[in-house]
Amino acid sequence: MKNLKLVSVSIVALMLGLNSCQKIDDFVGGGPSGEKQDKPLVIAHRGAQSI
């Protein structure tokens, strides 16, 4: 775990009333909106068929 970030995120999460590590984990590498990731992300390398 990335120590510094988890501390700050944990504080934010507590302030928001989020009460589980699972919720925090939802943000880590999750979907673009921070939702839980349920499939691999599609990352467009330099856009489509790069120019």
Partner: protein
């Protein structure tokens, strides 16, 4: 910009710009600091005097460098296809975008599933830029801050092949970070070769900032338990070239055998590191033998958390048929 817009239209979750710096400190999207291969700069006599020789990650390059151009000058150039195995139909039509323009595009669109479009900027050669007097990391953070995207929850991953820039950002920001790793070559038996011949780019096999500071560790270190633990101290993910996850052997006739997956993903996940391998492209058929869908499924089944692809439509299609 047109390529990023097209990728969003095709279903990308994130658009990935590689970033380099202009003479006046703007961050623009080019794959390398030198640009004769991806722009029409060599055709423009007014810029002939800007051709120069610089050392980049241990290799001398004679070319036109973005760092010798102002943003205004960069905006007079047109992009062209770098690969000889792709169409040139879009050559000399489109300008080079800034990171601000790319963020504006992302914010103006939604993914095909109605979500926020993310950006996945790569800091290209921060050490090289630092030697020229630039602070790449602060420049990027300033842009993200202005965009309101300098946070852990923002739809942003910042990636880099160097280590210190990511570690620095980790002390300044909570934005998500990804350590990229590479290898010089794949040996015939499928093992990875981290030996770079003299005069070639050191960064093919080791973080250049490590090398420049006398640290002899190559990217092989990042495949170990110690390396994963080290990376997890500052990053949220790791972006390996595909053979780190599933390698291939090649016999004397040149025939390819795909090898079983390594323990890379399980080790990365043990340390809560997301794994986003690069780069899936139709022209590279080692893993697919021409069946692109099967290549994506191979890596999806191995447990990757995302894929860098030149062909967004192929990745989206493969996801739709993946069970």
């Amino acid at each position: 910009m047109e390529a990023y817009a097209k990728a969003i239209e095709l279903g990308a979750d994130f658009i990935e710009p590689d970033l380099v710096m202009t003479k006046d400190g703007a961050l623009v999207a080019r794959h390398e600091p030198f640009i004769s291969g991806t722009t029409n700069v060599a055709d423009l006599p007014e810029y002939a005097h800007l051709k120069s020789t610089k050392k980049l990650d241990g290799k001398e390059i004679t070319d036109w460098f973005v760092s010798d151009f102002t943003l205004e000058e960069i905006k007079t150039l047109k992009a062209k296809q770098a690969r000889s195995d792709r169409s040139n139909q879009f050559d000399n039509l489109y300008s080079i975008p800034t990171i601000e323009e790319i963020i504006a595009l992302a914010k103006s669109r939604k993914t095909t599933s109605g979500k926020v479009v993310g950006i996945y900027p790569e800091m290209k050669h921060p050490y090289f830029h630092s030697q020229l007097g630039y602070n790449f990391e602060d420049a990027l953070l300033e842009v993200l801050e202005k965009a309101g995207w300098n946070s852990y929850e923002a739809p942003v991953f910042v990636q880099c092949f160097e280590v210190a820039p990511l570690q620095y950002i980790n002390t300044k920001s909570t934005v998500k970070l990804v350590q990229l790793i590479s290898t010089y070559n794949v040996n015939a038996d499928g093992s990875l070769d981290f030996n770079v011949p003299a005069g070639d780019f050191i960064s093919y096999a080791a973080p250049y900032d490590f090398y420049a500071n006398g640290d002899t560790r190559t990217y092989e270190f990042f495949t170990t338990e110690e390396g994963m633990r080290y990376t997890a101290n500052y990053a949220d993910g790791i972006g390996p070239w595909k053979p780190f996850i599933i390698s291939f052997a090649k016999d004397e006739a040149g025939d390819i055998t795909i090898l079983p997956k390594t323990n890379f993903i399980s080790l990365a996940h043990k340390y809560d590191l997301k794994v986003h391998p690069y780069t899936f492209r139709n022209e590279d058929v080692k893993w697919s033998n021409g069946n692109h869908e099967s290549e994506y499924h191979l890596f999806f089944n191995a447990g990757v958390d995302g894929v860098f692809t030149d062909y967004t439509d192929e990745a989206v299609k493969a996801l739709s048929t993946w069970k």
